[in-house]
Every structure is written in structure tokens, then in C-alpha cells.
């Protein structure tokens, strides 16, 4: 059955505009797929994505798992004989994809361009100011020992943020399901719920070991420099730094509401140590990413607005968190409380807008990995061997396969 193709020139132009200006130079030699450490004979990429984008086949590209299986090692761009920049194209496709699946769609558009930034930051500011006004805390900063809960009570923060983040999670889940559904309709076919469930463990293993990032740097085809050699370690730092902070925050909440162990907790407390250490690791990872993005812009491909947005917001969130702690310990009341306010605004931005920023990759990439793991679990042993995997291992290794 022949597939009807509907070239969409506007889509092609949109991707060209997302800092992938050389994609038209592709002449389909397939070098990119051959050098990609993650692509396999069963699911080669990014060659097909290059062909599809050049023909403006929007639905086909966006319903494809490969764009999220790519972990941007940039080997393809380093070896592309035409300088078509497949890695930049894949990044642009992910960028576009986030907006495409965004629910509601206007949020996707809002996070996609800098002109809406004021409004986006304004929303949590107004929300927090209304809360402060309602509590009557706008008159002045609380006196005495600095306890942030005196300024903005934890309970209110928990309620408002839980609701907002809950909404965001629902939106992200909705988007993720739409993407999963799109993949199910597309080329590689449908997988059942049981198959997906069976692939969960393999996917989680891949995520927690960050194995794809590792393969990106370990299974390199040659010696050409990609300027992405830092990606595995730096992302490992971000991943576990962020995870550490999630555990810290959750532990604090549990401590407060279950054991009534009120803030601030002493610095020697294990949870506190975990929090500080995680924050430091996160900042270190962010620093490496920011530095490489700035230093290698010309060689490693440009960074888009959405790249910098997530990096900046994450960095500011972490830094204001440390600033809160430092100014609190230093007793700088006039600085500590406003810093806490700013920190809360940033946390809001980070967590509530996450389905529409690059942060949403946690949803889309997980969905793509899960789906691909389920597909690969069907591979007969021979094909698994062709993919360079022991048959029993095929399912486990799937994000790579």
C-alpha cells in the first residue's frame, strides 16, 4: 500500500528557521545513520528524518520515535560530507515537536519565543503577590530569625504549587500520550499495553544509567571531534543533581507534614546534606553545558532560545536556592526574603511550564524510549544480533536499538 505524501513547505521552512539552515544540502548518502552510535539497522536515523524534513513530511517526522532517541552526540554532523548538520536538524525537530504536542497549544507558542517572557514570569509574580496581599504580608518583611515560612507559609506554597504542577503534569501526560499515540499510528506500528508495561523496567534502567548518553560518547565511530564529548557526564550531573533535589524537597515535605519537623533543618541533617550536594552537582553540570554551548557555538551547532531558556531557568533556580540558604544563614533579612520570592517564581516557571520547555524531554524521550523498547522486544534473535545485541539483552538495550 503506497503511502500518500503531502509535502508541507511551511514545516520545512520552520525547521530551517530553528537553526538548521543547512538541511537542504542533504543528498541522502546515509553517512549520518552509519556513524550514529545509537541508531541500528532496524531503525536507522537520522537519514530518514533528513529526507522527511526535506520533503516537509511533518506528521511523519513528528510521529517518529527516533527524534527523541537521538541524544545529540553530533557525530552525524561531524561526519556529514555535505555539512547538512543532521544533529542540528534533530534538535530543531525536538524543539518543534514540543510545541506541536503542547496542550494547550498557546502555552507551547508562549514558551517558544522570548517576547512572551514577561507575561510568563508575571503570572507567578502576580500569584505570589496576591497571596502575600491576602496574608497581609506586603506591609513589611517578617522580623526576627529568618524563617521563610513566616513570609510565605509553606502550606500555601504547597497547595498552590501542587495544584499548578498537578495541572502541568496532567498536560504533560496528555501530550506524552498524544505522542505515544502518534507513534502507534506511524511506521513502526502498534504495541499493546502489556508490551509497553513489559518494557518499563528496561526503559527505567536505561534512564537511570543514562546509558544512551554514555553510548553517545563511548561508541564513537572515529576520532573526529564533535564538541559534545562532555554531554554524558554533564547530563549525569544534571539528572542526579535534579533527582537529589526532588528527593530533598519530598523528604522535607514528609518531615514537615508527617513528623512535624519544621524548617529550617540544621546543615548537618542528611537530607540537608543531600540537598546541598545535589544543588552543587546540578550547578556544576549546568556550568559545563553553558560553557560548552557558548564556547563551541560555531562548531557544535548553534543553541536555540529554548536551549538557553531551560539552562538559564534551571541555573537561576539552583543559584537562588543557594542564595536563600546563604542569606538566611548570614541573617541578611532584607535580601533573604526577596530572594526566596524570586526563587519561588523560578521554581514555578521551571515546574509549571515544564511541558512546554525543553524540560518536557523527560516525557517525550521516555515515551520514545518506552515505545522503542517495546518494539525491539519483538525482534527475533537474528535481528537483535544484527543490531549488535544479545537476544536476551535486546529489550533491555532498546533505547539504543
Amino acid at each position: 500500500m503506497a503511502a500518500l505524501i503531502e509535502p508541507d513547505l511551511e514545516f520545512k521552512r520552520a525547521i530551517l528557521g530553528l537553526d538548521a539552515p543547512d538541511l537542504t544540502a542533504c543528498y541522502q548518502c546515509g553517512t549520518c545513520s552509519a556513524v550514529c552510535p545509537l541508531s541500528t539497522p532496524d531503525n536507522p536515523f537520522p537519514r530518514k528524518e533528513m529526507a522527511w524534513v526535506n520533503w516537509g513530511l511533518k506528521e511523519r517526522v513528528l510521529s517518529n520515535a527516533s527524534i527523541w532517541l537521538c541524544h545529540q552526540c553530533a557525530e552525524c554532523s561531524a561526519y556529514c560530507p555535505r555539512g547538512a548538520g543532521p544533529a542540528s536538524v534533530m534538535a530543531a525537530l525536538r524543539d518543534f515537536s514540543v510545541r506541536h504536542y503542547a496542550a494547550p497549544a498557546f502555552m507551547g507558542r508562549a514558551l517558544g519565543a522570548p517576547r512572551h517572557l514577561l507575561l510568563l514570569f508575571g503570572a507567578p509574580v502576580v500569584l505570589l503577590l496576591l497571596l502575600l496581599a491576602g496574608l497581609g504580608h506586603l506591609d513589611g518583611l517578617p522580623a526576627g530569625r529568618i524563617v521563610f515560612a513566616k513570609f510565605i507559609p509553606d502550606g500555601w506554597v504547597e497547595v498552590i504549587y501542587s495544584l499548578a504542577v498537578g495541572l502541568a503534569l496532567a498536560a504533560a501526560a496528555w501530550s506524552g500520550l498524544r505522542y505515544l499515540n502518534a507513534m502507534q499510528q506511524a511506521g513502526q506500528g502498534r504495541v499493546g499495553a502489556a508490551e509497553l508495561a513489559g518494557a518499563v523496567v528496561a526503559t527505567l534502567r536505561a534512564i537511570f544509567s543514562q546509558r544512551n548518553f554514555k553510548d553517545c560518547t563511548r561508541k564513537r565511530p572515529g576520532l573526529r571531534k564533535t564538541y559534545r564529548e562532555h554531554a554524558h557526564r554533564a547530563h549525569l550531573a544534571l539528572f542526579y543533581g535534579f533527582l537529589g533535589l526532588v528527593i530533598t524537597t519530598t523528604s522535607v515535605a514528609v518531615g514537615m507534614y508527617v513528623f512535624d519537623y519544621q524548617e529550617p533543618w540544621p546543615l548537618w541533617h542528611p537530607v540537608k546534606i543531600l540537598g546541598n550536594a545535589s544543588g552543587a552537582v546540578l550547578i556544576a553540570g549546568l556550568a559545563v553545558f553553558s560553557w560548552r554551548r557558548a564556547a563551541d557555538a560555531a562548531r557544535a551547532g548553534k543553541s536555540t532560545y529554548t536551549d538557553w531558556l531551560l539552562l538559564t531557568v534551571l541555573a537561576l533556580t539552583a543559584l537562588t536556592g543557594f542564595a536563600c540558604e546563604a542569606t538566611r544563614l548570614a541573617g541578611l533579612r532584607q535580601v533573604a526574603y526577596p530572594t526566596y520570592f524570586v526563587h519561588l517564581v523560578l521554581v514555578f516557571f521551571l515546574l509549571v511550564y515544564f511541558p512546554y520547555t525543553k524540560f518536557s524531554h523527560v516525557v517525550y524521550r521516555s515515551a520514545a524510549m518506552l515505545y522503542s523498547a517495546a518494539i525491539a522486544a519483538r525482534l527475533p534473535a537474528a535481528r537483535a544480533a544484527q543490531a549488535g545485541l544479545p537476544a536476551a539483552d535486546a529489550a533491555r538495550s532498546l533505547p539504543a536499538a
Binding site: 503511502a3 500518500l4 509535502p7 520545512k12 543528498y27 541522502q28 529526507a51 526535506n54 516537509g56
Partner: protein, 712 residues
């Protein structure tokens, strides 16, 4: 006949150390020749030879030194017969020094040289004034370019064009692809200015709506009759001819599978060119602008419309026309379906420039079809593409690549030659005017007639323009050579030509048929008549003649036979060393032997090598002579025949192949094994393999044992 022979024995380049030159001098003196010796005749001692020749003491100089392929100018003495005995490359550099067999080889070669020189005469040119007028047939890009080039070089030009205007297909183009740096985008074709420049030249006569009805004669003086559409006829004399009749599109029927002719919105690239020239690209069915235009290259291997020689033109035209679609309507999209997109050399930049337009989309497909959907939409269906194994694309217009078929006249040959061998120029299997593609691309097999442009090879405008200029230069050269009686290449400058001892002619006509260049006509008595300026001096007629009446003053069956007889055949009672005669083509095989010698590769000292102008010039009787004389075997070293022939005279090695059948029969009658005679194919680059090839033949012959005819 050179009665006064002088032998010049050179001791340089290792010859003196490897050979006993005293003994060779004795051989020469024994044959009645004067002998001079030097350590380097190629230096100031060349004056010794000159003095002997100019002083009249020597009229046949046998120079026993280096290969005849080197120091040609040093040893050029037009007044005398010059015979070069190749002691350096083919004796001392390729055989062990001081060995008895090496010495006897040198002795034989010297004796062969003496035998040949004694029977040769220095050639005297048959020169006749040549007409300095070039006839150009066809006024497309190649023809106009050739006419301009010849006219600007000071020659008179007669330009004949079938249509009513100059320019051919070039004048029907909307744009041509980028020819100047940066080779991007499309440009105005340069034909208009060239045509205008041509019209302004006083020494150019243009005959429009005319055709050539007859060409007779030979280079330097072709008689041409030109008929205009109104029936009037003119006569002209041309020194040389440029054939630039271009191409015609492949017939519509070949595109039936794409619906050309039945579906109105399926057109050829020529029709699209026409639309673009009128400013809009529309669907012929309803006149609406075509928003989605698909170009199909028709280059699948099973495709009726696929021309195996199509090369890059179809690819470049599709890319160019995709630009038209985008230039004339920025909202339109162009799609190119190809099997093999070829954009060689600098055209890569053109390709890149087209590719950079997002509205031009390219897709390789193993097989491409055009269909009509139930709702009437035109659909391009492609299999095996990077977009998917099977895809369908609805489009407004399909453009098929018009295949370029060489236009040599369908009913009436374009040139109407009054030649015994036929009215047209011989063509290759694809219908192109045939030439030795590697060495002489513009040559046709009719001397003085040069093919340029798409009639020679499918090509683009820039190539046709270059072709026209190049063919004009060859035409001018042909005229100059005709005036002095010199041969065209590959024997450039040769003054010798075949003579016919007609009293013994049996009027079999074989020479007239086997001449690859149609140089011979028959007179009323069915005797051959030579058109000397058509002749390339290959000697194929001499090899063909069953009664051996064809000779050159310095190359004949008699001379070759004398050389064979000059070889001393050892007849020791038991186990004499073998002797094997080798006829080596001077164009490829002989230079390959020299190159092997230059690299000090050794081969059997049993071989006695005679250079020949072409294997086709070897008369069968010479092989009989050799075996009767006692040679144990005969090897014929020449070029590859057949479709990818390398023969410089096109058919020489092929004709030899047919003669070999007769030669083997002769051997059978003599109760000899046919394996004693063998043709070995050698390319000039095979010098490294050559010694082993020869060794293998020597082994084969030795296994057969000595020739039983020895001593008779």
C-alpha cells in the same frame, strides 16, 4: 632503394657494456654497409650521420641505438631512409648483458634493420593546394561555435542549417544552467550573441532552410552541393567539414508508461522549456498555474525511455527547470525523482545552489510511475525511496526528461557522402558519429570530417560550445595537412601513402571494403583509387590484399618479409634455442615493450620483434613466411578489438582476428599446430604484465617442440 647503407652503432646507455659491438660491426660490414661508432649518437655525433647523408655517401641510415620512439628529431634526415634498430630498450635493458642469446638478438635486429633499409625509400609527399574553407553542417550551439572559431581564425566558413534561423535548441531555451563562477542559478543562453557575432563576419556564408545533398572528394577539396528549401542548388568547395547536426528528442512512444501523449498534464522537458519561455508554467489540461511540478528523470534501467549514454544532461536540465518552477511562481514546489543524479565537476555547485531552495525537493527512487487517481488527480508513484518503500505524490504537472538522440538524419543521411562505403559517417552502437573516444574524440571515421556537439555525445550547451571550437581547430589542421600531403593522426605528419601495383590487381575490392576510413574508391575497371587525404596510412589495405600489390615506399610486405628472412634461425642438431617472431603494433604494444625495457623488466631472448603500423597491416603471407623460414611461433601483439576497441585505426585488430582464421588453416596445411600463432591483446598500460604474457607464449610454443620446417 637505399643502395648506400650506413650503420651507426651507439655504445651509450649501457649498450657498449652489454654487447660485443665489434661483432655487430662485422655483420654490418659483411652486408656492405659503412659503419660508424659513437658513445652517444644522440649528442654532437648526430652530426656524423648528417654529414654522411648530406654528403651523399649514405642514403639509408641504420641507427642501432635507442628506441625509434625517442630522439625522433635528432635522427630526422628527410633525404634518407632512416631505420632505427632498438638495441637499448628492447635488447640490453631487457636481457642479461654479455649473454650469447642477447648478442644474437642484437645481431638479428641489426640484420633486420639492414634488410628493411635496403628495400625502403624516403617517402615523397603527394601535396596539392587545399581549400581554406570549412563547411559546418548544423547551426546549433556546436555549429555556431565551430563556425565562429574557424571564421575568426581567418578561414572562410559555409554554414548550412535546416531550420530558418540560427541557434538550434539553444535558441529555444528559457535559461541555461550556470556556466561561470559561482555556477549557481540559471543564466540567459549565450547563443543569441554568438549568432549575432557570426552574422557580422564577412567570411561566413550562411545557408538557412538548406541541406547538404552531396559531398564528394577528400580533405582539402570536398565538393559540396547544398540544396535550399525552394529547390535551388549551390555548389561549394570545402577543405574540411564540421558535423554539428545535434540531437532530436527520443520518440514519444518510449514514454508511454508515463502517459505522455495520453495524459495532457504529462509533458517533456522541451515542452516545459517552451512554457517557461512564455512566462508561466501551467497545466495544459485547464491552463491553471501548476503549483506542484514533478520532474521524472526516466533513468530506471528497465525504463524504455532510459538512454544508457544520457549522462549528466538530464539531471542538469531537471535541476534547471526546477529553478524555473520556483522563479516563475514562488508559491510553487518542484519535485525531482531520479535514479541517478549526475552533476559532475563544477556542476556540483549548480546542484548545491538548486538544492538550497527549500521549494525544490529531490528524491531517489528505484522505479517511478505516473498514475491517475479515481478523483482525476495526477499522481507520481515511486518505489524504493528514502521517503518510504512506496510513496505517492499528487501533482499538477509531470515533466519527463527528453532523451537526446543523435541527429544524423533519419531518412536521408545528414552529409550524403558520395563514398563507396556509404552516405553517412559510421556510427557507434548508440548512433553517435564514431571516433576513437579516448585518443581522438572529434575524429569521425571519415578523415577531414569532425563531429561536434550532441551528434558526438549527449552533452550540455557549454560542452557543445567547447566541442565546436575544438572541432574547428581539427578542421583547420586537416586543411593544413592536406596542403602538405601529411597524414592526420595517429601517424601525424607521415608523408608515405599506399601505392597499388595495378597490373596484378584482381579487382577483389577487399582493400576498399576493409579501409576503416573509406579512403579507397573503385574506378570503372573496379581497381582501387586512393583519395590520399582521406588515408591515415595505417596499411590495413596492405594487410588485406590477397595478392600483395599494396606497398608504401618505406613499409611493404616485401620489406617485412626481408626482415623475417634476415633472422638467423639456429639449427643445432639437438635442442636448438627457439625463435619466435613478434609483430607489435607501434601504437600500444611497441611502446609497452619499451616501457617494460625502461623498467628493466626482462623477457625471453627468443623473440624477434618487428613494429608494425597496425596489426591490420600484417598480411597473412608474412605469417606463412615466418613459419616456413623456421620460426617456432608467431605472436601478434596489438590492441583490444570489439565494442570497446582500443585500435587507433578502429578496425585493425578486429580485421586481423578474421584473418587469423585463414592463417590457422594455412598452418594446418603445413602440418603445424595452430597454437604456434597467437594474437595477444595489450594496452599501453600493460607493460608490467607483458613479459609474463610473452613468457607464457614462449612456453606454449616450446611445449610443441621445434618447428619441423627448420632447415628446409
Amino acid at each position: 632503394m637505399a643502395g648506400k647503407l650506413g650503420v651507426y652503432l651507439c655504445a651509450g646507455c649501457g649498450i657498449g657494456e652489454a654487447l660485443d659491438l665489434g661483432q655487430l660491426a662485422k655483420t654490418a660490414e659483411g652486408a656492405g654497409a659503412s659503419v660508424r661508432r659513437s658513445h652517444a649518437f644522440c649528442l654532437e655525433d648526430a652530426a656524423l650521420i648528417r654529414a654522411d647523408v648530406e654528403g651523399g655517401t649514405v642514403n639509408g641510415a641504420v641507427i642501432a641505438a635507442c628506441s625509434p620512439r625517442v630522439n625522433r628529431d635528432v635522427f630526422r634526415f628527410p633525404e634518407a631512409v632512416v631505420e632505427r634498430v632498438n638495441l637499448r630498450e628492447q635488447v640490453v635493458w631487457s636481457h642479461p648483458p654479455g649473454a650469447g642469446e642477447t648478442q644474437s638478438m642484437a645481431g638479428d635486429l641489426l640484420a633486420m634493420g639492414l634488410a628493411c633499409a635496403a628495400r625502403a625509400e624516403a617517402p615523397k609527399a603527394r601535396a596539392q593546394a587545399a581549400e581554406r574553407n570549412v563547411l559546418v553542417v548544423g547551426a546549433g550551439m556546436a555549429g555556431v561555435s565551430a563556425a565562429l572559431s574557424a571564421a575568426r581564425s581567418g578561414l572562410a566558413v559555409t554554414l548550412v542549417e535546416r531550420e530558418e534561423r540560427l541557434g538550434g535548441y539553444a535558441a529555444r531555451l528559457y535559461r541555461q544552467f550556470g556556466e561561470v563562477a559561482s555556477f549557481a542559478g540559471a543564466e540567459m543562453p549565450a547563443i543569441e550573441e554568438k549568432s549575432a557575432a557570426l552574422a557580422a563576419l564577412a567570411n561566413v556564408t550562411v545557408h538557412l532552410r538548406s541541406r547538404v545533398v552531396e559531398i564528394a572528394g577528400e580533405p582539402g577539396r570536398f565538393k559540396v552541393r547544398i540544396a535550399a528549401a525552394d529547390g535551388t542548388e549551390r555548389e561549394a568547395i570545402a577543405g574540411a567539414i564540421v558535423l554539428a547536426t545535434g540531437w532530436r528528442p527520443l520518440e514519444t512512444a518510449k514514454y508511454a508508461r508515463y502517459g505522455l501523449g495520453s495524459a495532457p498534464d504529462v509533458v517533456t522537458s522541451l515542452e516545459l522549456e517552451e512554457m517557461a519561455r512564455h512566462g508561466t508554467i501551467v497545466r495544459p489540461s485547464d491552463g491553471r498555474p501548476a503549483g506542484r511540478v514533478a520532474f521524472v528523470l526516466c533513468d530506471g534501467h528497465e525504463d524504455d525511455a532510459h538512454l544508457p549514454y544520457g549522462g549528466s544532461v538530464a539531471s542538469l536540465v531537471a535541476l534547471k527547470q526546477a529553478l524555473y518552477v520556483r522563479l516563475l511562481n514562488p508559491h510553487a514546489t518542484a519535485f525531482i525523482f531520479y535514479g541517478d543524479l549526475q552533476t559532475p565537476g563544477r556542476y556540483e555547485y549548480f546542484y548545491e545552489s538548486v538544492q538550497a531552495d527549500p521549494g525544490v525537493m529531490l528524491c531517489q527512487g528505484a522505479s517511478v510511475a505516473v498514475k491517475r487517481r479515481e478523483d482525476g488527480a495526477l499522481v507520481v508513484a515511486a518505489e524504493g525511496t528514502p521517503l518510504g518503500p512506496s510513496v505517492e505524490l499528487p501533482v499538477d504537472l509531470v515533466v519527463l526528461s527528453a532523451g537526446m538522440v543523435p541527429e544524423l538524419g533519419a531518412a536521408e543521411p545528414a552529409l550524403n557522402l558520395r563514398y563507396l562505403q556509404g552516405k553517412g559517417v559510421p556510427v557507434s552502437k548508440f548512433g553517435f558519429a564514431e571516433s576513437n573516444f579516448i585518443c581522438f574524440p572529434y575524429e569521425s571515421r571519415r578523415s577531414g570530417i569532425y563531429a561536434a556537439g550532441a551528434v558526438r555525445q549527449a552533452m550540455d550547451l557549454a560542452a557543445a560550445e567547447r566541442d565546436g571550437r575544438a572541432a574547428a581547430l581539427k578542421a583547420i589542421q586537416a586543411i593544413e595537412r592536406s596542403a602538405t600531403g601529411e597524414a592526420l593522426h595517429p601517424r601525424s605528419g607521415d608523408l608515405s601513402f599506399p601505392g597499388f601495383f595495378l597490373q596484378k590487381c584482381t579487382s577483389c575490392g577487399r582493400c576498399t571494403q576493409e579501409c576503416p576510413f573509406g579512403a579507397l574508391e573503385l574506378n570503372e575497371r573496379k581497381n582501387p583509387v586512393l583519395n590520399v587525404n582521406r588515408c591515415r596510412r595505417c596499411g590495413i589495405c596492405m594487410g588485406a590484399c590477397p595478392v600483395q600489390i599494396i606497398s608504401f615506399s618505406n613499409y611493404s610486405v616485401d620489406m617485412l618479409s626481408a626482415m623475417i628472412r634476415a633472422v638467423e634461425i639456429p639449427e643445432a642438431p639437438a635442442d636448438p634455442p627457439p625463435r619466435i617472431l613478434v609483430f607489435a603494433c607501434e601504437n600500444d604494444a611497441y611502446p609497452a615493450l619499451d616501457m617494460a625495457g625502461l623498467r628493466r623488466l626482462h623477457w625471453s631472448a627468443a623473440l624477434r620483434i618487428i613494429p608494425v603500423r597496425c596489426l591490420g597491416s600484417v598480411n597473412s603471407i608474412l605469417v606463412t613466411d615466418a613459419v616456413s623460414r623456421g620460426f617456432d611461433g608467431v605472436a601478434l601483439l596489438g590492441c583490444r578489438p570489439g565494442e570497446d576497441y582500443q585500435c587507433h585505426f578502429i578496425q585493425g585488430s578486429e580485421l586481423l582476428g578474421t584473418r587469423m582464421v585463414n592463417m590457422r588453416e594455412t598452418l594446418g596445411r603445413l602440418m603445424l599446430e595452430p597454437e604456434r600463432v597467437s594474437v595477444l591483446e595489450v594496452a599501453i598500460s600493460d607493460f608490467d604484465k607483458l613479459p609474463a604474457m610473452l613468457e607464457e607464449f614462449v612456453d606454449t610454443v616450446q611445449q610443441l617442440g621445434p618447428n619441423p620446417m627448420k632447415g628446409f
